[in-house]
Every structure is written in structure tokens, then in C-alpha cells.
Symmetry: C2
Subunit: 359 residues, 2 copies
């Protein structure tokens, strides 16, 4: 499939220069058709029959396998969650860190990761990488790691700066367990979860899935207590709630995900073009070049699929002006930055429209 044929699957691309998959991705027609078909079946045939429940269990299994494949992991290491925030909360609740423990994170993280860190009892150490060259990130983060560090909690791709953090090098150099916020990486660039301890997936961004679904890779499910059980967590339970946990990471499933969302996600994950990562990287590079002609770019070359730059004047107002011209980007609150998200579906015309909207 070529780019034009692929773009035709995403109706929003006909209308807008849609450059905000970093918030929430475009939807393909096959995705909403699968959702609508499921909803229609539920309307007509009900949702509460035994056969329907068994069908949902199978659908969960297929989606789990598809998400595992997207991060080169095995299904038994993947839990279904509602979001990356949900997944981060799950990990921190399970780890039960105490006041003598330390977590190392950075100053480019999303609240979906930071909030769960803050409500743990551990001390949070913040490596200040935001205003430093990407090449220095390894040393800056590593210098915060000490004998009390129990967790490295880092994004693969920073939602603010677009920077790719040196995760694998840090994991190997420190030996400290790592929770990776994969919200801006999975679907945007090739991801392998193996070698990490916990890796989150957001389905509604770069995977272009329905909202309300996510996943969590857990390298060693038996080593993390189930801190937030759902009906799907157990094979059997007693009247006091004590339960036999399901095998594998399925024990961490945080609950029911609407079957229509699962069906839409299954459709979204099918038939993705082989060339998607190269194409997305090329479009991000092109976008960065065009922005750099006129603005101070925050994102260094050869990072991921986000491009951030310093706005002239008020960034929030600039994003509204762009919106009024059919260009969807977002501002970074408190920073005075704008951010464009380039996917494999992005074309040169989208970037021309962005440049024109900023002129």
C-alpha cells in the first residue's frame, strides 16, 4: 500500500493537517467500522449472554497477542489496561516502595508517570535533562542513581522535547529495574520491550486505536504483587477475597475493556504497512527542517516523531490560530513551546500547511 491509499483510510486527513497523534491519533475507517459493527450487535443482540462473554474473552486474547507483537513480547508478559497512566499506577502500587527508597526520573516526563511516582512513599529524584543536549542525558540520569535507587521511571520518548532517552544503556549500566513510559514510542518507532522490567503502551496515540485501552509489559509477573485486582486477575477466590492469581501478566488486567474498543483496536492493529517507521522518521525530519527555518527548535535531529519548538508570542494562542487554519498541533503548557506529531500517514502537504499556518 502506498501513502496516498493509506491516507484515504483516515478521513480526517482529507480535512485537516492532523499533527497531534502525540495527544491522540487519527482514526481509520476500518477502526470505527469495527466499533460500530460491535455496537450494533450489542444493541440488537444484547451484551449479557454466555456466548458473548466467551467471545469477549477470546477477543481480549487476540488483542493481547497483537499488542505483544507490537512490542516484540510474548502475550504472557502483557496485561491489558485502560491507559499508560493506569499501567504506571499499577506498577508503583505493586512495588510498595518505602521512604528509604529512591526513584530516578527526569524533568521531561508526563503526569501520567509522575503522578504515580509522587503517591509512592519513595523519594523522587529528578534528573534535569530538559535544557541539556540529548547526548548528555545518559550521564545526567546516571548521576542521580545511587544505592537506594529502586526504580528508573523514564519515557522512551519525552512528550515535551521529543527526545529519545538512552534507556537500554541506562538499564545495563545501572542494573536498576526500569519502568518505561511508552506513550510516545509504541507505534511511532520500533520497540522491543525485552530487557526492560515494565513497559507501558498507549493504544489511542501512535497505534491509532480507540481511546480507553492500553497495555503493560511485565518481564517477571510473579515478582510483582497484584495491587489492584479485577475479576480478570483471578482463577479462583475465597469469600474473604483471597485469590489464586491467573498465570502470567493477565493477572494485572485492570478490568473490563468495552468489546467495541477491543474490536476497533484489533482492526487498527491489522494491516499496518511495513514502511511505517521509516516513513514517520522521514516526515519528522522534514518537519523539523521546515520549522528550523524560522523557529528555535527544541527537538534535536534524529530523535523520534515529535518536533517541538519555541513559539513566537503565546504558544496556546498560536495553537488556536493553527487550528483555525485546519492545522492540529498543541502547545506545551508552561513552556511556551509548540509541538507537531508526524506519523507514517503524514505527507509533505501537511507540513506545508503547518509552515503556512505558522507564517
Amino acid at each position: 500500500m502506498n501513502v496516498d491509499a493509506l491516507r484515504a483510510e483516515f478521513p480526517v486527513l482529507d480535512r485537516l493537517a492532523y499533527l497531534n497523534a502525540g495527544s491522540i491519533g487519527p482514526l481509520a475507517r476500518r477502526t470505527t467500522e469495527a466499533m460500530a459493527a460491535r455496537l450494533a450487535a450489542e444493541l440488537e443482540g444484547g451484551r449479557g449472554g454466555v456466548a458473548q462473554f466467551l467471545d469477549v474473552v477470546e477477543l481480549r486474547g487476540r488483542v493481547r497477542a497483537a499488542l505483544a507483537a507490537a512490542i516484540h513480547a510474548l502475550p504472557e508478559n502483557v496485561a491489558l489496561t485502560t491507559s499508560t497512566t493506569d499501567a504506571c499506577n499499577l506498577v508503583l502500587a505493586g512495588l510498595e516502595l518505602g521512604p528509604d527508597d529512591e526513584i530516578v526520573t527526569t524533568d521531561v516526563e508526563h503526569f501520567g508517570l509522575l503522578g504515580p511516582l509522587a503517591v509512592s512513599e519513595a523519594r523522587v529524584r529528578v534528573a534535569e535533562v530538559r535544557d541539556r543536549p540529548a547526548a548528555e542525558a545518559f550521564d545526567i540520569i546516571r548521576s542521580e542513581v545511587g544505592p537506594r535507587t529502586r526504580l528508573l521511571a523514564l519515557s522512551h520518548v519525552a512528550w515535551t522535547t521529543g527526545q529519545v532517552l538512552p534507556l537500554r544503556e541506562l538499564r545495563e549500566a545501572t542494573g536498576v529495574p526500569m519502568l518505561v513510559d511508552g506513550a510516545q514510542s509504541v507505534g511511532a518507532l520500533p520497540v522491543r520491550a525485552d530487557g526492560f522490567d515494565y513497559y507501558t503502551v498507549s493504544c489511542q496515540k501512535w497505534l491509532c486505536g480507540p481511546d480507553g485501552a492500553g497495555a503493560l509489559y511485565v518481564a517477571d509477573p510473579d515478582a510483582l504483587p497484584v495491587a489492584r485486582p479485577s475479576y480478570f486477575s483471578q482463577d479462583a477466590f475465597e469469600t474473604d477475597g483471597s485469590f489464586t492469581a491467573k498465570a502470567g501478566a493477565a493477572r494485572f488486567d485492570t478490568g473490563w475493556i468495552p468489546p467495541a474498543a477491543l474490536a476497533g483496536l484489533e482492526a487498527a492493529l491489522s494491516g499496518l504497512p511495513e514502511w511505517r517507521f521509516e516513513r514517520a522518521a522521514a516526515m519528522a525530519a522534514l518537519c523539523r527542517e521546515r520549522i528550523a527555518e524560522r523557529f528555535e527548535v527544541v527537538t534535536e535531529p534524529d530523535q523520534a516523531t515529535l518536533v517541538s519548538w519555541r513559539a513566537e508570542g503565546d504558544a496556546a494562542e498560536a495553537s488556536v490560530r493553527a487550528w483555525e487554519q485546519g492545522v492540529v498541533i498543541r502547545d506545551m503548557p508552561g513552556r511556551g513551546w509548540l509541538r507537531a506529531s508526524c506519523g507514517y500517514w503524514t505527507n509533505e502537504d501537511d507540513i506545508d500547511r503547518l509552515a503556512a499556518a505558522l507564517a
Copy 2:
């Protein structure tokens, strides 16, 4: 609106004797139409514009207010969750009970409540009400309450026996904080959350909403720590994740709920008939009488909208046989019981079909 006109809004009622709202309710056409309209708008117009985000924030506010009204509470005491399980986990995580604390529950509860109790550090005491007359429940539960009891964790209506538990009397007699599992009460019978400490709402059962949405009433939001923050929990945050919690129970919002689900829920909650609770009670009474003609009924008279009885032979097989005859009920795993759920949409013909399917 009369019953026939109302039934015409639920297409599944044309096809099936749908008696399983206790698992998941029937969907009205207006509910899925609102969902489909939202999905279509997202497909064509994208999901990531500033205006769209602000619209979702408003929609969340309207749904919060509608759910608050459904339990006679104020919106500032209501958090949006994904389910009752989600809400119970939220409360237990916030309470941070220790090994010297005790929780009193019963032997008729759902794992959505029991699981969260089990992963707290508190000792769980189980009041054995299941095989006793409903009139004895107060004494049996109260006798488990002692000086170490920190929480009463009880269903308003037991999903297994259909029994209404004497919640208000227990709350007043013991003075112990109470978490109420409202999965089988909200939408099925009149509910007032005031006077309780925590009260959960399931939207996909008796409220006939989309799946994936729920709520939690919190009487005193300032008294419960935010144990599971989402982006919606905070007004501002620092780079180490420390945050200023939102005012009221909105700080407990567990995350993004798909706007299509919110729109469907708003539609489902609109235009409910005044006579719904009386009608549902009358249909449950009729159902119970018909079942009692041939079976040993578990549910006592004058409870709520669930009717359970002992199956002849294998209960799971009996529910499959009923399904094959277009009658949707469920079995209670491990008990040999069957359960029928009667809503305000149920009519005499549904109950005739149930009786015929069991013959």
C-alpha cells in the same frame, strides 16, 4: 411514556427475554446513536483539537452531574471511574489500612469488592449471611464489628442472593465508615448516597449505559488521600510529580473515559420514566412468584430486582438451554443457582418465556 413505548427503544427486547441486567443491561437506541454520532465526528474531524478537549471536559461535567443526581448527591462528591471494581480499588488504596485493622464484609459479595479488600493489609472478617434469613443480616454483620474495624465493605444488593443489606442501620449502629458496592442498586431501586462514606456506581448494568464507565461517591474528599492520580486529579504539578489536587471528588477521577461512552451514558440517563423503580419491583415480585411455583427460591420476597433460585441439575447447562430458547439469565458459579434480573423494561411476556424455558 408507557411500557410498550419504552420497550420499543430497546431492540434486544424484541428478540430476547433479556433478564441479565445484573451482568450488563440492555442498550437503548438513543444510547448507541449518541455513541455512533460521537465516533463518526471523531473519524471525520479528529480527536485532538483544543476545542474537542474542552468539549470533553464539559461532557465529563454533565455526566458527573447526572450520575450525582442518580444517587441524590452533589457533583463535587462524585468521581468518574471505569467500574465499581475500579472504585473499590481506589478507596482501599487510599485508606492504607494496616495489619492491625479489620474490614467487615459478607459471604455474598462480588470479587470486584473482595479483591480490593484482599490486597489491603487489613484482616478481612466475613459475616456469613448467605444461608440465613435476610432479617438476621443486621445482627450477623454487626457481631463481626469490633474495636479494630475500620471499614464496613458491603453491597447494597447482593449480586448472588439478591438480598438488600441493612446498610443504613449498620452505619448508624456502628459508626464505622462504609464502602457500599452499588453495582446492583443504582438504577434498580431508589438510592441516596448521603450518610454513607463511599458508594460505587456501575453504569453498564441497571443504568443501561455503555460499558467502561462508573462512578464513586466520596462523602469527604479531603479525608481520602489520592492513591491513584490521573491527569484529571490535579490542577498543577511539579517536575517530581507532587501536585495540587483538584477540588472535590474529581481528584479521584481514574482517567480518560472515551467521549463516545460519555455521550452514550448521557443519553441513557436522560428521559428515564418516573415509574421505573415501582415497575421493576413489581416485575421482580412477579418473577419470584412464578419461579417459586417450581423451584427453591434463594431470594426472599421484597428485596430488589434480582431473583435467584436453585437449579435442577447443572445450573450452567440450564442457563445455556435458556439462552438457546432466547432467554438470557445467568448461573452463579459454584452455587448451583440461576439468577434472573428484572428491570422496568421487563414485561409479563418475558417472565412467561423464562418460565417456559425452565419447564
